[in-house]
């Protein structure tokens, strides 16, 4: 992708850079009309994009199939249209049907994933001992992961007071939890900074300070 050559794209690159700076003016200065302009333009275009994609999908995934004789696809349209009754006072209750259907499905999908991947899978992972060639460190890690997990779980109990002897495992669990979250935070910094650096690079490229890739 060389530096754009046709006028529309050159203007585009500069508009993009200007709006990027408009968004950053919120952070580097404060909320102004310049930021607000960028905000509303962005929300507008995001609507254009999401509405267009929605119509594209309705056409390609549903209408084409119905026209092709697969009439079962009409159910999705009916449920979708039921959702759109919300703004109309007298028939508003109809919109609850698709919502309640989606909710039930969401719970079903989440629970089945939770049981196998998050409960069974994770426990299986914790109790799998290191292989025959394991070093002392491997055994320490095994103990750390398995016992650490259990200590943190003990911290999450709701109906057992964290007092008496039970105070110690929960407290230790909390420390291990915080260690994990701290490590996670540190890890995230890398990604976030790369993103920001990428934007700085983009601005430098548009302003022709460094070459376009």
């Amino acid at each position: 992708m060389p530096y754009p050559t046709n006028p529309a794209d050159i203007i585009g690159a500069w508009v993009g850079a200007f709006l990027t700076l408009a968004i950053y003016s919120y952070i580097l200065y404060k909320e102004t009309r310049v930021y607000r302009l960028a905000e509303y333009i962005y929300v507008g275009i995001a609507f254009a994009v999401s509405l267009t994609i929605s119509v594209q999908q309705i056409w390609n995934q549903i209408i084409v199939r119905i026209l092709g004789g697969q009439y079962i696809y009409i159910i999705g349209v009916i449920l979708g249209l039921m959702l759109l009754t919300l703004p109309f006072k007298s028939i508003r209750w109809i919109s609850r049907y698709p919502v309640i259907f989606l909710m039930g499905l969401g719970f079903g999908v989440t629970i089945r994933g939770a049981l196998t991947a998050n409960i069974v899978g994770q426990i299986r992972g914790s109790i799998t001992p290191p292989g025959a060639t394991a070093t002392m460190l491997d055994w320490f890690n095994f103990a750390w992961i398995c016992l650490g997990t259990l200590l943190i779980i003990s911290y999450f109990t709701f109906t057992v007071e964290h007092t008496g002897w039970y105070y110690y495992p929960t407290k230790l669990g909390r420390y291990i939890l915080l260690l994990g979250l701290g490590a996670y935070y540190g890890n995230t910094v890398q990604f976030r900074m790369t993103m920001l650096a990428g934007r700085v690079q983009y601005l430098l490229q548009v302003f022709k300070i460094i070459p376009w890739p």
């Binding site: 529309a8 998050n118 259990l150």
Partner: protein, 220 residues
């Protein structure tokens, strides 16, 4: 009057319970009709989500129209701008929706030069905020905060190649923290959240969760 039956909470409970039950049944048991039904339900759910975008637009449009009607100071002309940027590209793209991709410049230009760079710009704002949040939160106020701080700093030093130059053991510690040190936290959070969602789901479909299931009791 006959319609009021359709608004009873029990009906809603029954539907959500049935859908949830079918989904779970199809997951555990190899009964093809149930599995097929669940697949269809999932397809319809995706289809409903296309329409949900429109509900969102109607909801937002109502706010922006009110802004314009009432001439809300400092906002109303921006609401007009919002509508222009939403509707002009949309209607320009509309004739092309049957094609594999939209080619009109009125749609692709704002998509490529406004939507895309601004999305990236916003995502990147996290860089600024993660910086100042670390500055604020990573203070050794207590032993707990110190644990958070030290783990975070060691990982950060390990991620940047510069850490290796400061102390050759940093990558080893970094790797231990990521492969082992933080695993109990992620495991335990996953396990407990999984238990939580099962119980939350049961409470909702069994009607114990009053704030969800009284759907319908609020009147027409």
């Amino acid at each position: 009057m006959g319609m009021s039956v359709l608004r009873r909470p029990e009906v809603f409970m029954f539907i959500s319970g049935l859908v949830m039950g079918l989904t779970l049944f199809g997951y555990f048991f190899n009964v093809p009709p149930v599995i097929d039904t669940v697949n269809w339900l999932q397809t319809f759910a995706v289809h409903i989500s296309y329409f949900a975008t429109w509900l969102g637009f109607l909801t937002a449009a109502r706010i922006h129209i009110t802004n314009i009607q009432r001439k809300t100071p400092g906002i109303w002309y921006f609401s007009i701008i919002m509508f222009i940027f939403a509707l002009v590209p949309f209607f320009a793209a509309l004739p092309e929706i049957t094609k594999p991709s939209v080619t009109t410049m009125i749609y692709t230009w704002p998509f490529n030069w406004v939507y895309t760079p601004l999305g990236a710009a916003l995502y990147a704002t996290t860089g600024f905020y993660i910086f100042s949040a670390a500055y604020r939160a990573f203070r050794a106020r207590s032993f707990e905060a110190a644990v958070l701080l030290i783990a975070g700093c060691l990982v950060m030093l390990g991620n940047a190649p510069i850490g290796e130059l400061i102390w050759s053991q940093i990558p080893t510690i970094n790797e231990w923290l990521q492969l082992t040190g933080q695993t109990p936290a992620m495991r335990a959070l996953n396990i407990t959240a999984a238990l939580g969602v099962v119980y939350f789901g049961l409470r909702v479909v069994l009607g114990a969760e009053k704030r969800v299931i009284t759907l319908g009791a609020g009147g027409g």
